[in-house]
Structures are given as structure tokens and as C-alpha cells.
Symmetry: none
Subunit: 456 residues, 2 copies
């Protein structure tokens, strides 16, 4: 009998062709492009891999696809693995910055270039193709389910409703999250959690119209008010000054610190690559401690008055800021909003409005769960190098509702076929074909081990 | 013989038509729009009023127009009045906030709406039409000169060079400045001085590209740096905190305080009209004391990252602010720039760049000069109400170089055809036709009195 690696290699041409077809179908949620066509295509992909699919569309938004594959005769019918993916992609703009057409899925230099190649069409393809291989070679070792949504890139607004209503349908023993990839040293990075988010919009309004700036002698300026309000919320050395902001942050345990410090982080490389002009704000501490365990408060946008060429002497009628707070487990976005409001009021900034544009809680799997260890073990085997496990992704996603409705003890690990320069959300998004192949092998090996119960 | 008022009324239709044509020609110095076409139009307007024009363009920037009209046979050839105007206007943006097209010069409800109608095309038209009336009715009572520049709205960077080179050409016994208008009580306001300006551009730069905001845990954010730097420069109660900023501000004398307190200022009316949401920042003090005698520091613009609809999770690569400091006599813009730089350095903001986009010193005429009194007397006659004289305009302009090159004892008074809601620099700029007519009469009466020597 051929090895799993040989079987994966034999499947590769079909897998590539499937992915190209999938990527050539635009599916931009923010622009309402191609959603129905993409749903039909995904349903067909599920069927071709030997599964059944249900299109759920009764809780609003773009449809959620439920897919199901049963354990084979020699499989374990009492164990279920859930995959989370999304079929929507980021807008391709700015299109003129792409070297190859964003929906062309052209192959150049061993890479497939397409919007969605890495985020998140490559990973769905990898998983379905891995299932097809297992089906054709002795049957599935466990039950497999998929939740494939169509609004991830716009913040998954409808997903919690579907998870709530269809919790029984999606129930599983473990979950593989949507994405992942290799770092610059070629080591695959997995994460077992995700940060939350409280995205705030602040407005300060002064007069009904922009005024001549000579009025600055007597008229209060909303741009100054906003600047002072923001400055009151974070110190020059980057401590968040909002009362109670850190209350729910769990103290770092020795285990957490050890994990962070054992994880590679090349500060000089990062600074050189991004062209950073200033030192990192974590001082001498290991950056992982901050990326993983610290909440943030980031000004994402500022706007007031005139910002074009040269000078215009106006006293702006209004000023706005967009502020993104990345949250850690136990922080609640609504509570953070309330604390920011209280802070503004306490410091006299009752005239500064604040609203929450979106909020998601953080999620972190039990790092010692046998499933987490199994994902790592099979990754080591598939990739031939030591994978890296982080307790949390720096990014955000709807992981918390999975826990909320399917069980807060659900072990969730994210892994995928991307690479360090996959450029998700940017022009020239790509995956590398050898990574795609290894990710498929990883999924075959992982599912193959799920014949045995992952819980004692 | 008809009265001057009748002659002005007869001239009004021509004057309006001339102004409409002039306003329909865009002339935005900041955007390099329409400068050559506007120069040609102004030269033509001068010739039609019976004068000669020279286009001076050998000192850089947009051309300066010198216009000359000689005293008639019964006039005083030994006395010269100089008018200062500018043919450039502020950018019309935001265009979608205009009720009528900014370069349409449409008449609605007795008002002419156009960018530049009040600032400063209306006043040039008023003055040339007044001259035309005098020419046609006995000749000019004195020599008249004009300096009409094309860079006032971008801070008159080239004007001093022209004034220096052509000082002999522009020499005069008195000067009428570009603008003015009626207050809310219908009283024309004149000013005998002007505030200076130090307009600053601040930049703070982080990475080479916008980053995913998850990097906020470790990467320093130029938007936060800029906010903190700005907040360090002005207190929440609007005191400027830059060391030495107030050093050269002259103490208020009892005469200055008396003048300010005798000058009307209706705070409630102002707040209601502008829709101000906050109290004035001068507390219980008379606002005139601040508008006339206090320097300011105003944020005119702020920009960083994403400011469109909804949320985008970016850590901006750069942030900018535009800050306008209005100066009082004896303050030097270059010195203010140096003090701001020193402040930023002292507070650790060496990464915040600051440059001066334009700088001008303040100017204040001798309030007891006979010319100042003559302008007031003829205004009373033309408007039929008591005019108001302020020692300084809240706005800025290049008055100081006029003094520097033509004599620091040159009496300069500003008066014009605007009204309290003319919205110079804002959408829906307008003048009212009855004001336009009265301003023309005022200029006729003033020039008519300049047959007699204004100095002992």
C-alpha cells in the first residue's frame, strides 16, 4: 500500500485544479459579489469529496454551509471533528497593485496567486481533498463536519445566530480553525485561541460648520477636545489609563511566560521588514508576552478639518477617531465600552461620543488538551520540522461564539497552508504549492489519528 | 447733479455682473487652479475702470498685479491711497456641503453665493467700481494704487519679495486693506491691524506600510505619538504649554482693556448662530480681549489611517496634524517654530517632525492717525450707523511686510463688503447685495475726501 505522502502527491493535480476553479469565482462579501454562485460551488465540492451539504439561510446574512462526512466502517462513529472555514474573501482593491489578476488563480514560480488563495479558499480545498484521500483509502477514521460561512471578512455578524440555532448540528469533539501558515523560518505556526475586539468610534462635534481658525481665541475646538480625550486614555509609555481596563486580564502564570519566551521572535528582522522607525513598545520584554497576553488600544484612524496640500486655516466643526481594542480572555467588549464612557465622563469629556462598531470576545483553548497535542504531533510528522504553538492569534475571529454555543471546553486549533508572505488582505495574495501539499498531508495524518478517542 | 448714493445705485447692475464674472473664474492658489486666467481677467477689470496695470512676476510665485489710477485735474496729485486685495481664493472643498455651486455666483435671496464672493473678490470689485464712478464724475480726488496678489490664501509667501523690490512703486500715504464686513447688529467693523501667523505641519511616521492592528501590542503607533505630542502642547483648559510661547505678548494696558470692553460682543448670539455646543473658552472675560490680544494654537487638521465607513483594523503608518498659531505684535513666527521644536524634543517627541508652512508677523496701525479717523467718518456717512474699529483683526494677512517695506508708520485700515455670516473659507460663502452697494458708497466717499491732505 502506498504511503499517505504518496497518496497526497497523487491527489495534488486534482487539488490544484479544484482550488484554481474555486479562486476564479469571486466572492466578496463587502461588495455583495458572487455569494450565491460560490455557495453552489462549495456544495458541489463537498459532494465530490463524498459528503452531504445543507445550505442554512434562515438566520440572515449570507448562507452558512453545513457539510457532513460519516466515519467509515473501520472508523470511530463516536468522535467528530469540526472544520471552520469561510467562502467569502476580502475585496481585491487596489487592483492595479496586483502583479497577476486577483481572480485569475495563475501559477507562477510555484505559487498560486489569487484573492482568497490563502484566506481562506486554500484551506477548505486542502481539507476536502484530504477527506477524499481518506475516503478512497479505507474510509474516514471519524465523523467530520464543516461550518463554512460567508461573512468572515465583514466580521461574521450572522454567525452567532446560526451557531445558536444549529448548535446540535455543529456539535463536535474538536475543531480545526480556518487559517495558518509557515513563518519565515519555514516552521508551521498553529494557534489555540484568538484575541477579542472592541472597535470604537469616537466623535467630537463643535460648531455646525467649519469656522475660520481665528475663532480659536474663543471657540472650543473639537479636534483639541478629541486629542485631549484620547491622550487621557493612554500614557506616553503605552499604558492604557481607562479605569478598570485591565481588571479582567488574567495574571501571567509561569507556564504562560515560559511558553512565550520559548517561542521565536526576531525583533530585528521584524523592524527591518516593516521599516519601523521606533523601538518596539514592549521594551526588553519578550514581544510574545504582549502579543499573546496583553490587551491593546490602537488608534486606527483620525480625522478632522483640512488635511490636503498646504495650509487651510479652519477650526474644524468635528473630529473623529477609530480605536481598536484587542481583548484577552475574560474581557467583555460591552464592559470595555462602558469603562471608556465612564473614563471620558470622569475626565470631563462628556462631549466626546463613543460607540462600539463591533465587539467579539477572546477565546483560548486548553493548551494541554490531547487534541492540541495531536495536532502538533501530526504537524511535526507532516512538515518534518517542529511546529510552533501560540496560545492566541494576534488577529481576531468569531471563535468565542463557537465556544459559547458548542461548549467552552471545545479544543480549537488553527492551522493552514499559508506562508509568511501570503499577503492576506493585500495585493498579490498567494500560497506556495509545496505548503499546500504538506498541509494536505497534515490533515490526512490528523484525521487518521482520530480513530482513537482524543479524551481519556 | 445726482448724489453719490444715486450714482452708486446706477452703477450697481454693472458691478454685480462684473463680480459674478470674476467669481465664476476659479482661482485656487493651493490647488494651482486658474491663476493665469484670473490675472488676465483682473488686468482687464483695471483697464475697464480707467487704470493701467503691470503684471509683476519676477520674484517667484503667482504674479502680483500693480494697478495705478492718477488723480484727476481737480484732484490732489501729492496724495496716494493704496488698496490691497488678492485674486486667489480658498479651496471650495467640501463641495457637497454647498447649497449652490461654489463657482456659480448665483444670486438667491439678495445674496451672491460663491467661493471668493466675500474673500476677496467682492472687495476688489467694490473698489474698482467706486473708482469708475469717481472717474466718470469729475475725476479721481487722489492717486490710487492697487497691490493685488495671488497667494494670500496660502500665506503670501512671495509677497514680501515683491514689496521689497517694488517698494517705490507701491509707496503710498495710506492703505485700505482687503476685507471687512458688518457684524450681526448691522454695524460695519473696521480693523487697524492684523494678527500674525505661524502655521505648522506636524508629521509622525511609523512603519513603511499600514500594519494589521494586532501589531498594536508591540509596534509604536504614529497616531498615538502625534496625539500625545499635541496634547502636551495645550492644556485641557486651553493654555498653550510650549515654553516661552507667551514671552513676547505685550501686557494689556488699561487703554487696551477699555477698548475691548467698549466693543460689542454678543456671546449668546454667537453661540446660537454657529451652533456651538460648548461654552466659549475665554470664561467670564470679554471675548474681545482674547480675539484681539491673545495668541492662539488651533488644530486645523488631523489625519491618520482609516476614516471611512465602519471599521478597518489598521495601525497607521503615519499621522499628520496642521496647527495654526495666531500671533500678536512682537511675536516672531520663526521663534515660535523653534520653541515648538524645543518643546517636542524636551518631552521626548523627537520623532515628531514639525515644519512651518507659513509665517507672518502681526501689525497694528496707530489708532489715532487722521486717516483712521477719516475712514471711520466716511463709513458713518455711507452706512448710516456707527462703525466699529478694532485694533486688530482676528484673521491674519501680510500686513507686516507692508509696514516693513513701505514704512512702519503707514496707516492701514481694513474694511469690506462682507457680513457676519459670509462664511469665508467655508461652504456657502456669500455677500449681501445691499452691503455690496454700501461698501461701494463708502469707498467713493473716502476717496472723495482724500483731496485734502490726511497729515497735518
Amino acid at each position: 500500500m502506498p504511503t499517505w505522502m504518496e497518496l497526497v502527491k497523487a491527489q495534488l493535480p486534482t487539488a490544484i485544479e479544484t482550488l484554481q476553479q474555486y479562486c476564479r469565482q469571486p466572492s466578496v462579501a463587502a461588495q455583495h459579489i458572487g455569494m450565491a454562485e460560490t455557495v453552489a460551488m462549495v456544495v458541489d465540492m463537498v459532494k465530490r469529496a463524498g459528503g452531504t451539504a445543507r445550505v442554512l439561510d434562515d438566520c440572515g446574512g449570507n448562507p452558512v454551509i453545513y457539510a457532513e462526512f460519516s466515519a467509515g466502517e473501520q472508523g470511530n462513529p463516536n468522535q467528530t471533528l469540526l472544520f471552520y472555514n469561510h467562502y467569502d474573501v476580502q475585496p481585491p482593491e487596489p487592483i492595479d497593485e496586483w502583479t497577476y489578476p486577483p481572480f485569475g488563480a495563475e501559477i507562477h514560480d510555484g505559487k498560486i496567486f489569487a484573492r482568497g488563495a490563502s484566506d481562506n479558499k486554500g484551506d477548505l480545498t486542502v481539507r476536502l481533498q484530504a477527506i477524499a484521500i481518506l475516503q478512497a483509502n479505507g474510509g474516514l477514521p471519524c465523523n467530520v463536519k464543516f461550518l463554512i460561512e460567508g461573512e468572515e471578512e465583514i466580521g461574521s455578524p450572522s454567525l452567532p445566530a446560526y451557531l445558536k440555532k444549529y448548535a446540535d448540528l455543529f456539535r463536535a469533539d474538536a475543531c480545526i480553525w480556518e487559517f495558518g501558515g509557515k513563518n519565515i523560518d519555514g516552521r508551521p505556526q498553529m494557534v489555540a485561541g484568538i484575541k477579542g475586539m472592541c472597535y470604537l468610534q469616537l466623535w467630537c462635534r463643535g460648531a455646525d460648520v467649519d469656522l475660520h481658525s481665528s475663532n480659536g481665541a474663543i471657540v472650543d475646538n473639537p479636534a483639541w477636545r478629541l486629542v485631549q480625550a484620547l491622550a487621557s486614555m493612554k500614557s506616553v509609555d503605552n499604558k492604557i489609563l481607562v479605569d478598570g481596563f485591565y481588571d479582567d486580564v488574567e495574571p501571567r502564570t509561569p507556564e504562560m511566560i515560559k511558553l512565550a519566551e520559548s517561542h521565536p521572535f526576531d525583533v530585528d528582522q521584524m523592524r527591518a521588514q516593516l521599516g519601523l522607525r521606533r523601538p518596539l513598545i514592549c521594551g526588553d520584554e519578550n514581544p510574545n508576552l504582549h502579543v499573546w497576553y496583553e490587551p491593546t488600544m490602537t488608534i486606527c484612524g483620525l480625522e478632522a478639518g483640512y488635511t490636503g496640500e498646504g495650509s487651510k486655516t479652519v477650526l474644524p466643526r468635528r473630529a473623529q477617531a477609530k480605536v481598536d481594542c484587542r481583548l484577552v480572555p475574560h474581557q467583555d467588549p460591552d464592559d470595555i465600552l462602558a469603562k471608556v464612557r465612564a473614563h471620558l465622563d470622569k475626565h470631563g469629556f462628556t462631549d466626546v461620543e463613543v460607540t462600539q462598531l463591533n465587539g467579539e470576545r477572546a477565546y483560548r483553548s486548553d493548551m494541554n488538551h490531547p487534541f492540541v497535542k495531536l495536532v502538533m504531533e501530526t504537524a511535526r510528522e507532516a512538515y518534518g520540522v517542529d511546529p510552533i504553538l501560540a496560545p492566541t492569534s494576534a488577529g481576531t475571529g468569531p471563535m468565542y461564539p463557537f465556544g459559547e454555543f458548542l461548549g467552552l471546553d471545545l479544543p480549537i486549533v488553527s492551522t493552514g497552508c499559508g506562508w509568511w508572505n501570503s499577503r492576506a488582505h493585500a495585493p498579490d495574495e498567494s500560497i506556495r504549492i509545496p505548503d499546500f501539499e504538506q498541509a494536505m498531508l497534515h490533515m490526512v495524518l490528523l484525521m487518521n489519528r482520530m480513530r482513537e478517542p482524543i479524551r481519556g
